[in-house]
Symmetry: D2
Subunit: 278 residues, 4 copies
Amino acid sequence: MLISCPDRRGITASITDFVYQNNGNIEHADQHIDAQSGTFFMRIEWSLDDFKIPAAKMPEKFSPLAKKFAMKWSFFLSDETSRVALFVSKFTAVSQDLLLRHEAGQFRCEIPLLISNHPDAASIAERFGMEFFVFPKTKKNRSRVEKEELRLLRRYKIDTLVLARYMQVLSPGFVRAFPRRIINIHHSFLPAFAGSQPYRQAFERGVKIIGATSHYVTDRLDAGPIIEQDIVRVSHRDSLADLKQKGEDLEKIVLSRALRWHLERKILVYNNKTVVFD
Amino acid sequence: MLISCPDRRGITASITDFVYQNNGNIEHADQHIDAQSGTFFMRIEWSLDDFKIPAAKMPEKFSPLAKKFAMKWSFFLSDETSRVALFVSKFTAVSQDLLLRHEAGQFRCEIPLLISNHPDAASIAERFGMEFFVFPKTKKNRSRVEKEELRLLRRYKIDTLVLARYMQVLSPGFVRAFPRRIINIHHSFLPAFAGSQPYRQAFERGVKIIGATSHYVTDRLDAGPIIEQDIVRVSHRDSLADLKQKGEDLEKIVLSRALRWHLERKILVYNNKTVVFD
Amino acid sequence: MLISCPDRRGITASITDFVYQNNGNIEHADQHIDAQSGTFFMRIEWSLDDFKIPAAKMPEKFSPLAKKFAMKWSFFLSDETSRVALFVSKFTAVSQDLLLRHEAGQFRCEIPLLISNHPDAASIAERFGMEFFVFPKTKKNRSRVEKEELRLLRRYKIDTLVLARYMQVLSPGFVRAFPRRIINIHHSFLPAFAGSQPYRQAFERGVKIIGATSHYVTDRLDAGPIIEQDIVRVSHRDSLADLKQKGEDLEKIVLSRALRWHLERKILVYNNKTVVFD
Amino acid sequence: MLISCPDRRGITASITDFVYQNNGNIEHADQHIDAQSGTFFMRIEWSLDDFKIPAAKMPEKFSPLAKKFAMKWSFFLSDETSRVALFVSKFTAVSQDLLLRHEAGQFRCEIPLLISNHPDAASIAERFGMEFFVFPKTKKNRSRVEKEELRLLRRYKIDTLVLARYMQVLSPGFVRAFPRRIINIHHSFLPAFAGSQPYRQAFERGVKIIGATSHYVTDRLDAGPIIEQDIVRVSHRDSLADLKQKGEDLEKIVLSRALRWHLERKILVYNNKTVVFD
């Protein structure tokens, strides 16, 4: 269960007592108070073995407490499985890495769908046994094509989108259809080097460290809530090609962490920032 | 308050309810369950503004709950101030860094005492306005000298000892007088390169990364519970002197983190490991 | 060209002059002097566009200079392609990552051969279009099996062996057949936690950082010259399974760096250490 | 000796031969070719023990070679000692750390002068035995005050300026008086968060990593050639005060590396980037 609400005396006690009174055994509980805004955040995980409330009744049973503290809350069963669609363009190293990790059991989800604006990725879909769809986009046809994509995503019951170097801007309407459910990997240490050529910009600025950033997609390009970042050192000896090569490893790791945390419901968003309970 | 006990249903609920019923406002609460040993750990911090129980009454009021769950527990007021003695030998860069940090307000403690086996450190004590005592040690006189040291530490009401490159082995009896209150910094990535010449050993093994480790001192040399570690890259270009130089920065940072967490009561020890609630 | 010899005045000048007089254009030159042993190391790369000496004549033409300075030297053409055999056991995430990188053009080599002591890896070989051979090993049959393996490796003209979590000890005779050409990845920060269960050992010691180490295989288990190491932070929250998961990413990256440097002839070994010219 | 020139066949051979013919023994030689601009860079260090050319004659003797290859070059004797002035404002942790390192012999220089726009730093100057001067600045008086500062710097024969959190903008004229000799530490991972409140900006953007950047000061604010950068992880648990605390350690380390490399003449600047020969 993920909860956020204005901070007040007794929130933790009330929630843990609710679980206890209904015979739940708390396995993890993490809380955070944002002092600036006076907001309380909690992630709490309990065993359902002897828990008295069936999942379907939770909204009814929990709502008195939720109302009392003006909570935003959501809960998930750990055997619920997300369905993810992967969006790629021509560069596929990051997406293939993600799919290998998925095969190895790193992600609690299904990834039935590969979507691209280029036909090149078809062989990837075949290798990993996925459905593949190509949607070539132009400025002109974007609005029509996005409608088709949305239809497809609904048909496949997709709840989470991963953009693994998908070099296309999504329209605000499309983004709104998946709020906090579109994860992008940007190949720079945001907010440095937003835009389409981060490695080139980093190379030209002569930085000594490059980075990668995974974030939720919002209306504003490369400005959504940051989920995870990591970096690697570079030097004057590194050519632009070296930067790309070194950065690739970062992108893989940063994106896979972000997706894992998302799927394990460890992320709360507020104020265009994330609370990541690890 | 720091708590550990066998894991059972209802612990968190009972503790948070205890605080709530007595009008405490929880500011931080962190818990951890060690799945292997089935042990529950908690650190909980609450405001005393309207709290009904005065500190002196806490043992009496909390003990029924503690007994019910077989808890080990301790509590501290955040305005209690530790008193620290700093032990050094000839190499003083790490201890001076610690003292500068103390001046800058990084540590919630007083550091009235500098103890060394060499007279060289006298100037440090003068610069930072501390009392200075020299105890030259030999194998022969160790037991007598340690007694004098213990007397001095009692006189100055010292509760925590920091060994900042103090190249002397402490006797088990001395260690027992300050259980989990002697913090050492070892200049390697333990358990690699225990003993007295870690940089030389690292240099000779040709490692590509060196480290520093801060740990509580126990009977067994360099084998106590690890509080913090960090590393830095080295290469074939680095001489032994370069390793020492690079490692020094690590030692400063790792030791200062360990001391800070210790003073803020963020560390629980079990099974020769630490739980560090950050 | 890779060169090592006792340090003396005029080595660099003589070598660079040799290249210059024969119309070579130096593209990279790196040197290192090991002060302790007084040894000079150099890696020098030049363009053959107008170079006067054909590859076949190099030994003859360079030997007077080599003799004068008592050099050990070797040279390679950048279009020479190594042939690599990959050894795996049951855990295949690291080897699959390596093969994806190979497909993406990260390694200047061919990898025609996958060898395992278990049949499970057959599907990997198929996915990546490689030949697959199973050699089940017991203490009893090792010597006979290794002979068969050596025959196979010769048949496939293999010059470099990569052990990607190949949990079998090689005999000294086998190792001697590929001196400084067998690269292993060990899942700890060597010399800490040598042996077969490094993650378990790390978990039990309560370290705050885990590592991975790639090294050349020698007669002594996990004690060969270290090529590359890297680390990742862990905490009390990480279970043994988390350590394995986090470590896996390290293993992939560290092994791929080591193999790349090996194939680009950037590594010189002396004194059981490596000089890695990057 | 530091050299840069258009890349051409025979440069390295000519330089090393020049040293060799004059009985110098090369101790370090590092070269780099910037492929994009076709520029050759070299740093070469040799022993003067039997070297035939006295320092005073070097310009005359080396100039034919320099002309032939259109070199920019400079040379330094390793016993030449730079004279550094330290500029601080109110926050002095970074400058005190620098002075402790200087005492411990980390920097090949003298630091006779502490300059501030506030009187607070006087006690620092006293502690470390330096001359102290206060120059309160306003927009109005800046041009006059800078003139006084320049006079003072000349009087003390200062060649290098270190800005350790000196929160004042220098005029282009002042900067021009010390080209590539003013080192600043900026408390962010540039180019992210330039300007005066980088920690606040980082906090508000919700980044997961913060950084520090040392660079040469040029006309454009926070946009000069980057010498060194480093980073540290942060999380939603870190308050703005925590960011400042964590960042402070970075600032100390990054600034001290940058100054050391500068003093050891390991830095070449071109194209608003640095080549750092380590």
